[in-house]
Amino acid sequence: MSSPSEPSPPDQPIIAIRDLGRRFGRSWALAHVDLEVARGELVLLAGANGSGKTTLLRTIAGLIHRTRGELRVFGRDPNRARAHCRSRLCLVTHHGYLYENLTALEMLELWNRLSPAPRPRSELMPLLERMGLAERARNEVRGFSAGMRKRLTLLRAELERPELLLLDEPFSALDPDGQRFLEQWIRASRAEGRTFVIASHALMRATNLGGSSVLLERGQIAWRGPSSQLLARFSGTAS
């Protein structure tokens, strides 16, 4: 098994999916999904509730086993080479992965100490300041609003500096300032060469980020094209 820090070839797609299927009971949450995501690309996953966006993100992260098909993340099967894949990606979902009785600073310290390459402790408070959480650094998470929890969760992605970010509804629960900050952060991260797969219903804001879009319907890819064309396509499908 390769070490988690083993670099993958630059010309290799970060994500390669072929005929992917995932069945829950009798129904297929994903079926015949083919998708490739290149390094530095941003792919927006759109679709109605239950169309398979979250399942696809969790499958890419290796949290869900596929029922059929091929899946390679950084050239490896994420269900087998867990350390190889997970040390390079970060999944941000509507679950914050937070402990209610730890403070924001303690959460950050915990993630930092458990990560493969911890940062110096002195770098943690500036991160909280950057996300507007410095004043609440020593408050327990249980008293945080949904927006503050989301900001703290996003800090995890900033802390880990992964090559691949899987964001599930990142704009939800954020106030307009938070959404603008997140948009800028994603743009800055893309400029550094990071790859994004974003599932979102906030299409106006998400399509501003550019990149390409994938429209999922009942677990299948119904359309793929530039994000600039998604809104028209999505409204056309909806009607």
């Binding site: 988690p4 969790r58 992260a61 949290l63 869900i64 086993h65 867990r82 350390a83 997970r86 040390s87 990606l89 970060c90 999944l91 979902t93 679950h95 914050g96 992965y97 937070l98 402990y99 209610e100 009785n101 730890l102 303690e106 915990l110 993630w111 100490r113 458990l114 990560s115 493969p116 327990e140 995890r156 880990e160």
Partner: protein, 228 residues
């Protein structure tokens, strides 16, 4: 080295969470003391019988109260899918298991300094001061023997409905040899060890602990990940 760093970090996190949620320890202690009291009511006022049974009653009180503590230990990990977050970092599941098991062992050991004096007073038992070290060792071995399979089963059942029923159903039959060895050891320490049997029972306790701490570390990575 990374696994050891993760283990130390997770133990510190678990102990911190236990301290912040220390009302849970109080509830378990009250439950255990109530159990001891009810046992004394059930057996009546016959002092000799109470003395002979006191070792067994103490271990039973520990076993019954352990299920409360063990069931709770993984609940906090699922409140906001924190455990999934740990696995995504990625944290080695083996480190998660041993951190939880060590914390649960400490949790059960801490019950001892309260439960044992209560039992001694309720059951009119006297322990020679020279045997207190052995008594503490047997208590610690029993606590760690319950914690290892208990943590494994708690991890397995923590996402299921009816965990409070499932956990004792799985744990109690498995804990049979541990209970027998522990009860025999404590009884020998209380009533006297004329045949010098204590060493053999203590050996059985150590063997049980070694086996289940090893098995738990091997099995936990297979049972902890969802979606298989």
């Amino acid at each position: 080295m990374i696994v050891l760093r993760q283990l130390a970090t997770l133990i510190a996190k678990d102990l911190r969470l236990e301290w912040r949620r220390r009302a849970r320890l109080l509830v378990v202690l009250v439950f255990a003391c109530t159990t001891l009291l009810l046992f004394s009511f059930a057996l009546g006022r016959e002092t000799e019988l109470l003395v002979k049974a006191s070792g067994g009653l103490l271990v039973l009180a520990l076993l019954l109260s352990s299920t409360l503590g063990l069931a709770e230990s993984f609940r906090v990990e699922h409140e906001d899918r924190a455990l999934e977050g740990l696995f995504l970092l990625p944290v080695d599941p083996v480190a998660v298991f041993y951190a939880k098991t060590i914390t649960n062992t400490l949790f059960l050991i801490v019950l001892g300094p309260i439960l044992v004096p209560v039992a001694l007073a309720l059951y009119s038992v006297h322990i020679e001061p020279g045997k207190l070290g052995d008594f503490a060792l047997i208590w610690a071995l029993t606590a760690s023997g319950l914690a290892a399979p208990g943590t494994l089963y708690s991890g397995m059942t923590s996402r299921m409905r009816g965990q409070d029923v499932l956990l004792p159903l799985l744990l109690f039959p498995l804990a049979g040899p541990l209970l027998i060895a522990s009860v025999r050891s404590l009884t020998l320490l209380i009533t006297g060890d004329a045949m010098d049997e204590l060493g053999a029972w203590r050996g059985l306790l150590i063997a049980f602990d070694v086996i289940y701490w090893s098995i738990g570390g091997v099995l936990y990575p297979f049972v902890c990940e969802e979606g298989t």
